[in-house]
C-alpha cells in the first residue's frame, strides 16, 4: 500500500558536454522515447481496465485512503510515470494545482528549497469526449532546471491523473495518457449514456485555459437530466494559476423548461458555492451555501429555460433564418445573480458561407459573438473584456438534443 507520494529520487539532468546549461536543458526537453508497446492493464478490485504504453514497473496498489489505485508505468526513462485511478471525479483544475504543490513540496524535502517554478505549458482539451487538462512546469533548484508534467481527465464520473517527473518525453507522456484515457472502461459499473454530449475548449489569447463538458441524459417520466462541468485554469502570473471548477446539474422538461437545479463551484479547490434551486409558491427558492455563508432567497418568475431550452430556442431562431431576428431567454446563472432570473438576448446576425450562422448573445454587460450550426449548437464563440479576448471552440460532439 502506498499513498500518493513520489517513488523515485531526483536529480537534475544537466550533462557534461561542452554545450551550455540552457542548451543542454533545451535538448533534454526535446528528448522522446522510441515506439512503445501497447499492453492491457486491468484491476478487478478497482474495477477498471485500460491499455498502457510501456510496462508495469510495480504491482498495482490500492491507495491507503481507498480513494483510488496507483499504477507505476515504465516507459523506458530513468523515472517511471505514476498514474492514479480515482474512484470519484476530481475537480480537474484544482487537482492539477494541488498535485503540482504536492510534487514541489516533495522535491523540496529531497532536493532542497525550490528556487523558482514557472508554468511552461497549459493544455485543455478532450480525449474521445473525456475532458482533459495538462500542466507542465519548469523548476529551478540548486542552480539547475527540472521539468514536471501532469495530466488529468475525467471518464464517466471518475478521474485519472498521471505525472512524469522527468525532463523531456513530452509527446511520449501525452501519448501514454491518451492511450489510458481512450481505452478506460469500468467493467462492473454500469455507464450512464447521454443522448447528447459535447466538449468545448476555452482559450485566452489563443492559449487553452479551460474545458467544458455538457451532457444530456434521459430521466424518469420523460424528463431530462442535464449536466455541465466547467474547468478553468487561468494564468495569474508565470508562477500562479487560478483554478475554477463548476458543476451544474439541471432537471428539465423535454421541452426545455427548468424543473430544478444544483450549482456547485470551487475556486482553487475551496468550495465557494453549493446552491439548489427549487420551485416555490411564488416562483423559485434558492438555498445553500455561497462564499462560505448560508444563503437563502426567493424570487419571482414562472418560467426559466434549462440548458436544453436554450439550445432548442437558438435552433428555432436560426432555422427561421431571419437576419436581425432576436429572442429573449431567461436562465438561472448563479454567477450573475443567484437569486434572480437572468435575461439574455440572442440575435441572429445572418448565415455564413460555411452554412453556419452568426449569432450574438448579450447577457448583461457581456456580448458574446457565436457561430451556431443549423441544430442550434454553438460551435465557436468569442468575447472581449476590454483588451482581453476569450474564445471557445467545440472540440467534441456526439448525439443531438
Amino acid at each position: 500500500m502506498r499513498g500518493i507520494v513520489l517513488l523515485v529520487t531526483f536529480g537534475l539532468l544537466v550533462g557534461c558536454s561542452a554545450r551550455t546549461a540552457p542548451q543542454r536543458f533545451a535538448d533534454q526537453l526535446a528528448v522522446e522515447t522510441g515506439d512503445l508497446v501497447s499492453r492491457p492493464l486491468e484491476s478487478v478490485e478497482a474495477d477498471f481496465a485500460t491499455r498502457i504504453l510501456g510496462k508495469l514497473a510495480l504491482p498495482i496498489e490500492i491507495l491507503e485512503d481507498g480513494s483510488g489505485t496507483s499504477v507505476v508505468i515504465d516507459i523506458g526513462t530513468p523515472r517511471s510515470v505514476e498514474c492514479f485511478f480515482f474512484a470519484d471525479e476530481l475537480d480537474l483544475a484544482a487537482a492539477l494545482i494541488d498535485y503540482s504543490k504536492l510534487a514541489f513540496e516533495e522535491f523540496s524535502s529531497q532536493l532542497g528549497a525550490i528556487e523558482k517554478t514557472q508554468v511552461s505549458e497549459v493544455e485543455a482539451g478532450a480525449i474521445d469526449g473525456a475532458p482533459m487538462f495538462s500542466v507542465e512546469w519548469i523548476y529551478t533548484v540548486g542552480g539547475g532546471n527540472g521539468h514536471l508534467k501532469h495530466r488529468v481527465a475525467s471518464v464517466a464520473d471518475r478521474s485519472v491523473y498521471c505525472r512524469h517527473l522527468e525532463t523531456g518525453y513530452r509527446k511520449t507522456f501525452a501519448r501514454l495518457f491518451e492511450e489510458i484515457v481512450r481505452n478506460l472502461r469500468y467493467p462492473s459499473t454500469p455507464r450512464r449514456k447521454p443522448f447528447y454530449e459535447s466538449v468545448v475548449r476555452v482559450l485566452f489569447s489563443k492559449r487553452p485555459v479551460g474545458v467544458e463538458r455538457t451532457a444530456f441524459y434521459e430521466h424518469d417520466e420523460g424528463d431530462v437530466r442535464l449536466e455541465r462541468s466547467s474547468h478553468l485554469l487561468l494564468p495569474v502570473d508565470g508562477q500562479t494559476l487560478m483554478a475554477s471548477d463548476i458543476v451544474d446539474v439541471q432537471f428539465s422538461t423535454r421541452e426545455g423548461m427548468l424543473i430544478n437545479a444544483v450549482h456547485v463551484q470551487s475556486e482553487n479547490g475551496g468550495l465557494t458555492a453549493n446552491l439548489a434551486l427549487d420551485p416555490s409558491d411564488n416562483g423559485w427558492k434558492v438555498y445553500g451555501m455561497l462564499q462560505e455563508k448560508e444563503f437563502a432567497s426567493e424570487f419571482t418568475g414562472s418560467r426559466i429555460h434549462s440548458m436544453l431550452g436554450d439550445g432548442k430556442a437558438v435552433r428555432q431562431l436560426v432555422q427561421k433564418g431571419e437576419a436581425g431576428a432576436s429572442i429573449e431567454l431567461g436562465s438561472w446563472l448563479p454567477e450573475v445573480s443567484p437569486a434572480a432570473v437572468t435575461t439574455g438576448v440572442v440575435k441572429m446576425k445572418g448565415k455564413r458561407d460555411d452554412g453556419h450562422y452568426n449569432v450574438d448573445v448579450s447577457v448583461g454587460p457581456l456580448l458574446v459573438r457565436t457561430i451556431v450550426d443549423d441544430q442550434g449548437e454553438t460551435v465557436a464563440g468569442q468575447t472581449k473584456f476590454g483588451q482581453l479576448e476569450f474564445e471557445m471552440v467545440q472540440i467534441f460532439q456526439r448525439g443531438r438534443f
Partner: protein
C-alpha cells in the same frame, strides 16, 4: 446561454486582473494587471505631485465621468487627457450603503466580528483609519493571488489574498467601527525608484472620516510614490457583486497610459 463566457467573466470579475498578468512585489505590495505605460522622454516623474496623462480607454467619456475632482481636458474617441494629483477628492456624502453590513462587506459575520474585537484590543475602541489600514496589512499574512474576490468574512477566516481582499476587509473593519467606507477599483501608477514606473490594475478602500473621504490602501504600502485613478466603486454589494460590476469594470478599463507631463506642487 454561453455559460463558458459567463464563467470567464465571473473569473475575471473576481480576480480583476487575470490576464496580461504579472504582478510584482517591488518592495511595496501587490500590483495587478500590468498596463502598457510610457513616459515622454523629457518628463521626470520623481518628486511629481501631478501628472499630465493620456488615458486610452474602452469608453473615455465614461472614464471621465468617474474621475471627479480632476481637470479632465479633452475626451476623444479612444482616449482622455487629464491632469491628476495623487488622488481625486470627491465631495460626495456617504450614504447608508457605506455604513451597513452587506453580502460583500459582511462585518456582522462572526469571523469579521472576531477580527474587529482583536483590532479594538490592539488599537483601542476608536482606531484611526491609518491604524486600521496597518492592522489589515499585517492581518493578511498570505499575500497571494490564490483567492478569488472574497467577501470580508472569508478574508477574516483565511487571512489570504490580494488587493481586493485587503480592500474588502478594511472596508468591513472601518464600518464596524462606525466609519463609512467603500471598495474602489482602478489603476495605480507606481514610481519605483530603481526599475522605472509602471501602471497596474488595483483595488483599495475609501474611508469617510473628519468630514471627507480618504484613500486607505492596505495592500500597497511603502515610500514609493503612487498615483491613483479610480474607475468604479462597488455600488452593489449583494451576492452577484462580481459580475454586477463587470460593465463598469469594462467601460472604465484603461488599456494604455502615456505620461506627457509632470509638475511639483507649489510649496
Amino acid at each position: 446561454m454561453p455559460s463558458w463566457a459567463v464563467r470567464v467573466a465571473a473569473a475575471l470579475a473576481i480576480t480583476v486582473a487575470t490576464a496580461t498578468l504579472a504582478w510584482s512585489t517591488e518592495g511595496v505590495g501587490l500590483y495587478l494587471h500590468v498596463l502598457p505605460f510610457s513616459v515622454q522622454a523629457d518628463v521626470s516623474l520623481h518628486g511629481a505631485s501631478h501628472l499630465r496623462l493620456v488615458l486610452y480607454a474602452q469608453d473615455p467619456t465614461y472614464l471621465a465621468s468617474t474621475i471627479l475632482g480632476w481637470d479632465v481636458g479633452i475626451v476623444r474617441e479612444d482616449r482622455l487627457e487629464v491632469e491628476i494629483g495623487r488622488y481625486p477628492m470627491r465631495d460626495v456624502a456617504p450614504s447608508q450603503i457605506h455604513r451597513a453590513a452587506s453580502f460583500l462587506v459582511d462585518f456582522d459575520e462572526e469571523p469579521v466580528v472576531t477580527v474587529a474585537r482583536q483590532a479594538a484590543k490592539d488599537l483601542g475602541a476608536r482606531p484611526s483609519r491609518e491604524a486600521l489600514t496597518g492592522f489589515v496589512a499585517d492581518y493578511i499574512t498570505d499575500k497571494s493571488l490564490g483567492r478569488g474576490n472574497d467577501v470580508a468574512s472569508q478574508v477574516a477566516r483565511h487571512r489570504s489574498g490580494d488587493c481586493t481582499e485587503h480592500a474588502v476587509l478594511l472596508a468591513a473593519l472601518a464600518r464596524s467601527f462606525g466609519l463609512p467606507s467603500k471598495v474602489v477599483h482602478g489603476t495605480v501608477i507606481g514610481v519605483p525608484s530603481q526599475s522605472g514606473a509602471g501602471a497596474y490594475g488595483h483595488a483599495w478602500t475609501e474611508i469617510f472620516d473628519d468630514g471627507r473621504w480618504h484613500l486607505a490602501d492596505a495592500a500597497l504600502r511603502g515610500p514609493t510614490p503612487v498615483f491613483y485613478i479610480p474607475s468604479f466603486e462597488y455600488v452593489d454589494e449583494g451576492p452577484g457583486y462580481g459580475i454586477a460590476h463587470l460593465e463598469r469594470m469594462i467601460r472604465g478599463s484603461i488599456s494604455k497610459i502615456e505620461v506627457t507631463g509632470a509638475r511639483r506642487a507649489v510649496p
